[in-house]
Symmetry: C2
Subunit: 350 residues, 2 copies
């Protein structure tokens, strides 16, 4: 008997090409969403090592199940309480149903369950995954990539390493924030404060960056930390008024935060918008219409984000479907993400 | 070559035994939840026909994926808006997570998607299914049984044909309704009305049956139809007051209905409970505590229903696990269902 030579593995190809296993898997299986330069490196490594994809594993990957997983890096209790997530899910559900794909929502109780989600994704039960990864240092995106299924992320993931082939859909958080702050400056306001969201989420970090783009030299005392909740908005607004009683405008990182800020402003006898102008972010209804006064805010199309995530994934899975529906998808130049535009909605608060 | 004799199929066994394919599948694969008499008939048919289970198909069925599907016969928009479903899902999620099983929620846009759900369940992606089938004549239960995966239903399914081996978890809707009406009678009320739920749901039908158990000879004018919503409760309450202005008590099929009825009673100048006593069903919080006056109601443990559904399914999948956790499960004598008790919660309305 001749000596058994170990077959080169997917891991060996990934190491030689300097990319993730998921990237090798995608290139080998002809999936879309890998940059040309990266794909070339993978093909070279495949050739040099004489790698032959495992047929069984490959058929598991290429066999269509007509099913797509949706994974949220949040416990199920929060997923169900979050109108934002429900709206994205609505967009996803409509798009998947229109293409007769089953929506498979994978729920967890917390981070300790994410390894099990990774196993399910790797088990050949779905064709791809849509992942909401909102927090920095979350292990979920890595687990999903390790599972080797095509994936589209909702919201910009925070990792930049080897992330060149990551497809994601996000709103223009930074540009929207800039528009909000410019609007306040255009009203003649000179002491503009910002209440941030939780800065372990890229959406909040990007909105703060947008604020700083316009107010580069602003007094650091004009920035207070919130957490995307009305209670956080109240606390931050009190802090701001104590520190900077002469402030004349507030850009709140989301509408719920703005609602809390408005309550404190009223409590302290400040007229909105006369004394202090307020702008929110999201255009979350009915909140934004029911504040007193109704809220000027930055609108993002949350349902459309979900729909687009599903569409991008389905296109990657079946390029013919993409040809059949020649519709323009806005892409951000120089990034692998699709960034949806935001619009300022003017109501009474600014 | 000898002539090929067609191998007896699962269908042939099912036909000879006079049971569903799912029942044959469960008996052949050693799953629990099939009554002895039925299981004997299946084994006899297997012997008589010389049926040999297809090994590949069998391994698909017996291989554990450590994943359980949850299927709701409602569009995703209603699933997410329904606090009742969210509570059941919480119980399911906790129990599955405790046993390291992945919760796979299969969402749909409507009935036309149920065939796809059936295909996914039959595709070997989950070990079993938990199905909420609330409406009469729903094709979903049949599709799930056809898929041949062990299943536990949430709520009593309406079909009685060949349903002897169906495992379900429900609340004691009929007994709870009887307790509510007896409580009103015990207060000396003699003109007791009932506002029903949508009678295409077994829970609503069972509550009406409980009302009739106690008030067999009641004036038919004292029953009005609602739909489990506050608006439906308002409409039904107006009808009742127009028809029977002398009524002195109302048993509403759920708390939301009762909340609507209370509004109309106040509007018409009736004092609660002095003029009209009101009892609801569910003990849905915060609704039941925040009505004016706070609502006397029949409490059911919704989260526990979900937990029990998951536990019964996991036990059927792995009998050893059942031995390891010797916990009493209340079963309704003479039925394959598990009926959880209800309790009357007294507040101010009756």
């Amino acid at each position: 008997m001749s000596e058994t030579v170990p077959r080169p593995t997917l891991e060996a190809v990934a190491e030689r090409a300097g990319v993730s296993r998921a990237t090798v898997s995608r290139v080998v299986n002809g999936a879309h969403g890998v940059r040309d330069a990266l794909a070339d490196r993978v093909r070279r490594a495949v050739e040099e090592l004489g790698y032959v994809p495992n047929q069984a594993a490959r058929s598991l990957v290429t066999r269509r199940h007509d099913a797509v997983a949706v994974v949220a890096a949040e416990p199920e209790t929060r997923v169900f309480a979050d109108p934002y997530f429900a709206q994205q899910l609505r967009g996803i559900s409509k798009e998947l149903t229109a293409h007769d794909n089953q929506l498979v929502l994978l729920l967890t109780e917390g981070r300790e369950d994410h390894a099990r989600v990774g196993r399910y994704l790797a088990g050949g039960h779905v064709d791809g995954a849509l992942v909401f990864s909102l927090h920095l240092h979350d292990p979920l995106p890595g687990l999903v990539r390790g599972a080797g299924v095509p994936t589209v992320f909702g919201g910009r993931p925070d990792w930049e390493d080897d992330g060149g082939d990551v497809v994601y859909v996000d709103s223009d958080n930074r540009g929207g924030a800039r528009a909000a702050v410019r609007h306040l400056a255009g009203l003649g306001r000179t002491r503009i404060a910002h209440i941030t969201g939780p800065l372990d989420q890229t959406s909040a970090a990007d909105r703060l960056a947008g604020f700083r783009d316009v107010r580069a030299g602003a007094d650091p005392g004009l920035v207070a930390h919130g957490d995307f909740t009305p209670g956080g908005g109240e606390r931050a607004m009190r802090e701001l008024l104590d520190r900077c009683p002469d402030l004349d405008a507030v850009f709140a990182a989301n509408d719920l935060t703005a609602a809390g800020a408005l309550r404190v402003l009223r409590e302290r006898g400040r007229r909105v918008p006369d004394d202090v102008a307020v702008v929110g972010f999201d255009d979350m209804l009915p909140v934004a219409e029911q504040t007193d006064p109704p809220l000027t805010t930055v609108r993002q199309d949350i349902e459309e984000m979900g729909r687009l995530m599903a569409r991008l994934l389905l296109r990657g899975l079946d390029p013919r479907a993409a040809d059949a529906t020649p519709e323009t998808v806005p892409t951000a130049p120089g990034t692998p993400g699709v960034i949806l535009p935001t619009t300022l909605v003017r109501r009474a608060s600014a």
